[in-house]
């Protein structure tokens, strides 16, 4: 079985629609969906946002299953100016070399990733982080997933779709639109924020369009590489 992890269902929902014979379990906010996809038995799992949630949520899952490989997928923030929204980054420093070779024929950027414990919201922070670490993309879960996979000998492929560019501030602070404790969006607070910050409405609309593009391209990439991936 191949496990494909995402932080939130917003990132996985296009791929979930492609699953044949899908069965769902787990909490509605962070469900586990199993079935067949591109010739493989797959489980799409959701870690929630952040390392703590990923460890708490995915650790117990691994007590009951032994995946042959793990694809850590989702959105990421660009840390270098030449990455556009929707670009796919195959992460070299967190991926198994054999899996990297298996997906080498797919059009994607190669580069390093860094995992942070907070949402990186400003251009200044993105530039500092990119310059200091050499990473091209930032996320909030991959390092935690690696800590779960590595001791169990599960090969991992890390793939991120760029949801926001290095030269783009996030339009709404993460604490406004997302409840980290409950791992759920806060639609009412988001609407109140936009109502009181009308200048943010345009950037937010563009951000949402970018999310849709990132999800579509990530889904297409995963569907293209799944048939090429070797299972142990």
């Amino acid at each position: 079985m191949i496990v494909i992890s995402f932080a939130l269902p917003e990132e996985s929902k296009d791929l979930v629609r492609k699953i044949v014979g899908a069965g769902t379990s787990g909490p509605s906010a962070l469900p586990v969906i199993t079935g067949r996809l591109a010739g493989h038995d797959v489980a799409i799992v959701h870690s929630g946002m952040g390392m703590a949630s990923a460890t708490a949520r995915l650790g117990p899952l691994l007590e009951g299953i032994s995946p042959s490989l793990w694809i850590a997928a989702g959105f990421g923030g660009g840390l270098v100016p030449d990455l556009a929204v929707g670009d796919i980054v195959v992460v070299e420093n967190f991926s198994d070399p054999a899996l990297l070779a298996a997906v080498s024929g797919q059009p994607a950027r190669r580069g390093s990733l860094i995992t942070t414990r907070k949402v990186i919201e400003t251009v200044e922070h993105k530039k500092d982080l990119g310059r200091h670490t050499g990473a091209v993309v930032v996320d909030m879960e991959t390092a935690a997933i690696q800590r779960l996979c590595a001791p169990r000998g599960i090969p991992m492929l890390s793939v991120r779709a760029i949801s926001d560019r290095a030269e783009q501030d996030l339009p709404v602070p993460a604490a406004i639109w997302f409840d980290a404790a409950k791992q759920r969006p806060r639609p009412v607070r988001l609407l109140l924020y936009l109502a009181t910050h009308p200048g943010r409405i345009g950037p937010f609309a563009r951000f949402v369009r970018g999310i849709n593009l990132a999800r579509a391209r990530l889904t297409a990439f995963l569907l293209a590489v799944l048939p090429t991936l070797p299972e142990k």
């Binding site: 922070h125 935690a144 800590r147």
Partner: protein, 132 residues
């Protein structure tokens, strides 16, 4: 070779630098950086308390907030945690407070008008066992 070994064996171990030593070194680094802005590496590694990595990381991030800046913790593929933080350049006392607070080492970079600080947390075991 034997002589070198004997010489080494007879040397007393270097005492750990005091907090005041570290603070003075940091002040000198900051003064130099302000005089001639460039990257200054003065890196000392923090040994986390067993099983307290996440809590200690959050604690250091919180410190940066209290000092009027921000701290961004990140984890690389080797499992190493570091905290890249910025505080106002004229708030060097906050640096000293950080040293006293964590007995930490700092990798200092000056970038007007803020000071970037990286606190490296040494994690010899990527998955520290939880405290009993």
């Amino acid at each position: 070779m034997l002589a070198a070994w004997l010489l080494g064996a007879c040397q007393k171990p270097k005492p750990a630098p005091s907090i005041d030593d570290l603070s003075a070194a940091l002040q000198r680094s900051a003064d130099q950086a302000i005089a001639a802005p460039s990257l200054v590496d003065a890196q000392i590694v923090v040994q986390p308390r067993t099983g307290q990595l996440a809590a200690q990381t959050a604690e250091i991030e919180h410190f940066f907030s209290e000092a009027g800046g921000t701290g961004l913790a990140s984890v690389n593929a080797a499992g190493q945690t570091s905290i890249l933080g910025s505080i106002p350049a004229d708030n060097l006392d906050a640096f000293k407070a950080l040293l006293r607070h964590e007995k930490a080492g700092l990798d200092l970079v000056y970038k007007p008008p803020t000071v970037l600080v990286e606190v490296l947390i040494d994690t010899p075991h990527p998955s520290p066992s939880p405290t009993p």
